[in-house]
Symmetry: C3
Subunit: 285 residues, 3 copies
């Protein structure tokens, strides 16, 4: 069975950066299958990176290596991490983007790459491999550790080689948590934490915090809008009508049937979402 690796970055796909990473991966592990999560994260947006990784990782088979390179600190002293959880290995820079996913998979053992030792190991493992020799001879570039360090490390791990021989265990990594909603007795206040390509506003309010009879409001910089109660499908509202719905991440989303909630409400990341709980035996307001 071929190895499987997912690849998340902010490299875009208009240049050859993503391809160079894949070239190195395939040069070291020709049978490897690679799935792109996305490469269109906003440059350096650690929140978006953490969010995307958190919600995508679990749909891949156990044994998958998840590589995420959103790395504004490339070339600085930040560590290069590999984190082994129960089902996966996560590889990325030590800037917080891996944490939510690692925790959601039950936590893991954190390792920091020892570059010099790793390159020695690579040289002996992949003797005669042109691409690897080029990488080792050049040494890591100042600007592209995705190709020069993260790719070889990921291929090494996909090949089943022992992490312990090229990295040292650490007790912690940089902390980064996606904001949690504020839960009160009669309301939940959350935030828009992600906006997708359809203009759906994905909030940090989890499914279990919203009842079928609660009333949901969206507050942007300009207006406060009553979206209404939870719907069961996009199609259950008229075209152009706003909908509150539990989306595929188990989170409350604000959408517009056949349109874009982002455009219609001039909404943005960080806007407030307010869930007013149905009062027992009373009105909600």
């Amino acid at each position: 069975m071929p190895g499987l690796l997912t690849f998340t970055s902010d490299f875009g796909i208009t240049d050859s950066y993503v391809a160079e990473v894949k070239g190195v991966l395939k040069a070291l592990d020709p049978e490897l299958h690679i799935i792109d999560i996305t490469h269109w994260l906003e440059p350096g947006n650690l929140t978006a990176a953490a969010f995307v990784l958190l919600h995508a990782f679990r749909y891949f088979a156990a044994g998958t290596v998840h590589l995420a390179v959103i790395d504004p600190g490339v070339g600085s002293e930040r560590d290069i991490l590999a984190v082994r959880t129960g089902r996966y290995v996560f590889v990325g820079p030590d800037n917080g983007i891996l944490q939510e996913a690692v925790e959601a998979d039950g936590g893991g053992s954190i390792f920091a790459l020892e570059i010099e030792c790793f390159f020695k190991k690579l040289s002996s493992l992949y003797r005669g491999n042109d691409v690897l020799q080029r990488i080792v001879k050049q040494g890591p570039s100042a600007t592209f550790h995705g190709r020069d360090l993260f790719a070889p490390l990921s291929a090494y791990l996909c090949g089943g080689h022992p992490l312990e021989e090229v990295a040292v265990q650490k007790s912690s990594m940089v902390e980064y948590r996606i904001m949690r909603p504020m839960v009160c007795e009669d309301s939940v206040t959350g935030k828009v934490v992600y906006i997708d390509r359809f203009g759906n506003l994905i909030t940090n309010v989890e499914e279990n915090l919203v009842g079928q009879e609660d009333e949901i409001f969206l507050k942007t910089d300009r207006t406060m809008t009553l979206v209404g109660r939870l719907k069961n499908s996009y199609a259950s509202a008229g075209r152009g009508a706003p909908i509150a719905i539990i989306g595929s991440r188990g989170l409350l989303e604000i959408a517009v049937s056949g349109g874009s909630a982002q455009a219609q409400f001039e909404a943005d990341y960080g806007n407030d979402i307010l869930v007013m709980k149905k009062q027992n035996g009373g009105l909600w307001i």
Copy 2:
């Protein structure tokens, strides 16, 4: 030989939706090869979906599963279809996007998924598969049947499992036909049915309806332009000159050499194309 699946959607590739579908596919069929047709169809644009599928499907080997998820009715009562034609299986929502391709492949047997029965079958088939167990346990989300239903169904079919055990045959599916041109004795009137990334205006006028001496006009909201007669290559016209040419789909296209016909003519979907037939032994006008 690994299975082959094509994947067409309006999900875009800036989010992780496409990747989640692929994760599920590969979790159930690790050897599967996946080719993206495109994920940048305009959200909910059924015409574009039908057009792209119609013109791409035939370049894939017999046995390919063609998955198309342009599904504005997700979460409503629309059926989830698998249509078996002579050479392929097409999988998608019952909203018309499969019809033109199915007909072009000679028609097929239409099946509608029985969700409950399918999930039972999956549970026993993929016992011990983490990803499948998650999908089954969660149940289909309200907004993302691509991941929760279409992907498992496609993987099931790629694995050669019998469609009949999880779906019921139907006599018909939702009808949707790309508009045909109007053919008169001395003219053919067609429409711009697709505009590609180069700004080429692809019409519904088929190759056999245009003679080498016919004169071709483009009518937009603003102007009527004489494009001229058929050319044999983009390069055969001067830079910036409009060209009528038979494109790679066997359809009449209006292009601009080294430029964009869409931009130059301020053209749009639905604009008219007029082919004036050369009169026998006379002038065309």
Copy 3:
């Protein structure tokens, strides 16, 4: 071990063109692995094509077939080339885009496809292959040799079939060289030759032409800016500060920490970069 092919084009990924090429490739070589370099080259921009290919090809394993279709002359008399170098085969139109990469790999043997002979060979090799039969029966379209000629040729070569049987050797191909910098005793004057998705300005000034104490200037249509001396990482400058750095191609790049140099300086392709050499024992100005 499966064959590996890279694919570079200006087709974009909003249409099905890229997928049709891949469909043909996989129909003829089902085990083939395909890596996209990029498909978002500016339509017909031969410089960008040559640049991207030049800097990406070397990160792929020996034996890789590099297919590049940026082909504004499609349908004209330009040749269809396959160039065999020490480690790779490059396939593309004879318009200059392959030259820099071929030279960087030590030069190669240039072959021009004999279309009629090739189609005969294909017909007998892939007897019973639906997709190939369709391609041969249709004949090459006027607008899409990527699908109709380049893809079959690439698959043929990935399959290890002899180039000599379907192509004739040529002594030369169309010349195209990315501009070189002007090197004087006390300065180097280069150009911005590529701008990436981050807005980094990549110049044609190679690493060995810039000393640690040289002062670097950027000259746009509007202003002349002192960028300063070489830095070792993006992060070593304050947010929003311009940086001169040796990028991952071994070329001098102008970047802005946490921002876009292109936007900040209103810079463009062809802008000048000036490296003032540190005078021995003196000031640089």
